[in-house]
Amino acid sequence: MRLGALTPLQRALIAIALLGVLLGIALFVIATTSAVPAAPLLEAFITVLVGWSFIGTGLFAWDRRPTNLIGQLMVCVGFFVFIAELTVSDIPLAAALGFAFNSLPVAFLIHLLIVFPSGRARSRADRFFIGYAYLAGGLIAGLPVFFYNPATDPDCAHCVTSNPLLIHDSLDFVNTWLNTLSAVSIPVLFALFVHLVRRARSEDPGERRSQEPVWWAGGATVFLFAATLLTNLGPESGNYDDVVWYIANIVFATVPFAFLLGLLRTRLSEADLVAEENVRLDAELQARLDELRESRARIVEAGYVARRKLERDLHDGAQQRLVGLALDLRLARERIEDDPRTAAAMLDEASAELSLATEELRELARGIHPAILSDRGLEAAVESLARRAPLPVEINASIEGRLPEPVEAAAYFVVAEALTNVVRHAGANRAGVGIRRDDGRLVVEVTDDGGGGADPAGSGLRGLADRVAALDGRLRVEPSGGHGTIVRADIPLRQGNGAGA
């Protein structure tokens, strides 16, 4: 990895990591070379390992989720584990600092557990525990450093001999103060334990999988710290206290690994997330497909209905007339010699009937597809429509050149159907048709000044909407400001919608 390819944050994280490594080594050296025999090698080793684990895991989390507080809190825990361990030093100032900050790692840990995994406190209880942790672990537990003189502490025969921060020597005060703090903190820690257990249970199963290790390790650590405080409160029982302390610290040491495991599991569940996203997209696609299938079915159905209607119109109209005509002609033929006058009248009738038949056929043909639309394009065809409309129609068209044929046809039928609706239902005095190109789309608007109330679900408009949707366009029917209705179709003019788009 080239350094230049790193972000400033990553460079800072590497610096912190180096600092952590150095501090750990320094601490190990301090602890093992200390003249105070109360610092066995194993303890120093465990402590350094715990610190590094927190720092390493924290930096990893920090890098992956820079905006999430979790990583930073873990790094803090790691560094303060080192600082707290300075109590074993035989350097008076270092030992005093260790004493002052002895409880801070626990405070950071509590904060960490409460805001896991989002990095944010979620409730008032959360904020109370965090506040308590810093107040008790940082301030109240650190205060006695100014009154503690190791030289006068009978429990600390081998400790350092002086405390440079000492203001007033009062072992009684220190003991009372710390015991009171422990007595208050024990129920708080147990409450926190319950709080964390409840939270772990309320997580949904998907979340729980990645968070479970943290809840287990964190909850156990909090529980054991409470137990440690409890045993410290009781009479000095030597090994018993130490055993609890060791167990607590070993569990504490597992916390960063629990985080690591959680992170790995989160990684796994990020794959799950991708899968979930895919499922969502699939569902969307499916919905769109269903919609398309339905609209296609409606188009097919509409085509079927239209053909049925055409068939009926032809049979009941033109064909009926032609059959009647054939009969009339036959009858006229029979009478032509005996009764030429009647025959002539019948022939006149027949040709009148014939005119009606051809007229009907013409109208039918126009309904199927207006010739002027293919011959002269949308504007001319719409003008022709407007001319036939029984109310004044103002046309405002600005399209140069021809449009793709399917678009022209869809736009034409939108105008035709909308004008028919206006005449039939709107009670309007006038209508307007606007046709324009707009950013690669054709926008067709039909407005009227009538009473409104057009039903977009009506079969005519529904069919139009399907027709427009088949071209990836949209048809909307909405009231136009004040009164009347606007029918607006918006059809893309791209390649897919016919040549020359």
Binding site: L354, S355, R366, I372, D375, R376, R430
Partner: protein, 214 residues
Amino acid sequence: MRVIVAEDSVLLREGVARLLQEAGHEVVGQAGDPDDLMRKVRAHKPDLAVVDVRMPPTQTDEGLRAAKEIRSELPGVGVLVLSAYVEPAYAQELLAENAEGLGYLLKDRVSDVTAFADAVERVGAGGSALDPEVVSALMGRTREDDPLEELTPREREVLGLMAEGRSNAAIAEQLVVTDRAVEKHVTSIFSKLGLAASGEDHRRVLAVLRFLEA
């Protein structure tokens, strides 16, 4: 009268030709497509070309374009355009600057032999014949302030017949009134619509159509 018939349906072409012959005209040529039509028109210089709008190769408006070409190239040849459907817009295109020797009729009209023969005569002689459907579409157009509302029903009838290209005498005959009465109606119409009176029938057609289209 010497006539050329252009129509791609042989049945209809023969029918129209026979009709014309029976009416005493000479069919000097028959064409099935626009190129054939143009060739024969140029060769024969007939009095009239009867042209179907839809012809090969695209079956859209070849006939219309051929008709316009004839009118600009050979103004002496009357053109009677037949179509399965009529559009005022096409009438407009055909008329362009003048209505002289121009007809635009629905194909169905051939079944009314007398009316068709009359139209053929008129157009061949330099007059006009516009389909009643075109005229009624123009007159029936709804306007905000319809100047036609000032006309009496009889005057409207007369206006429509004028727009179709009929002469006063023909209008009188159709409405069963005297020529004098028709003249009075025409004068009244022109003054109500604010149009300048015009002598020749085809000029009158143009004036009326311009007015109706405006």
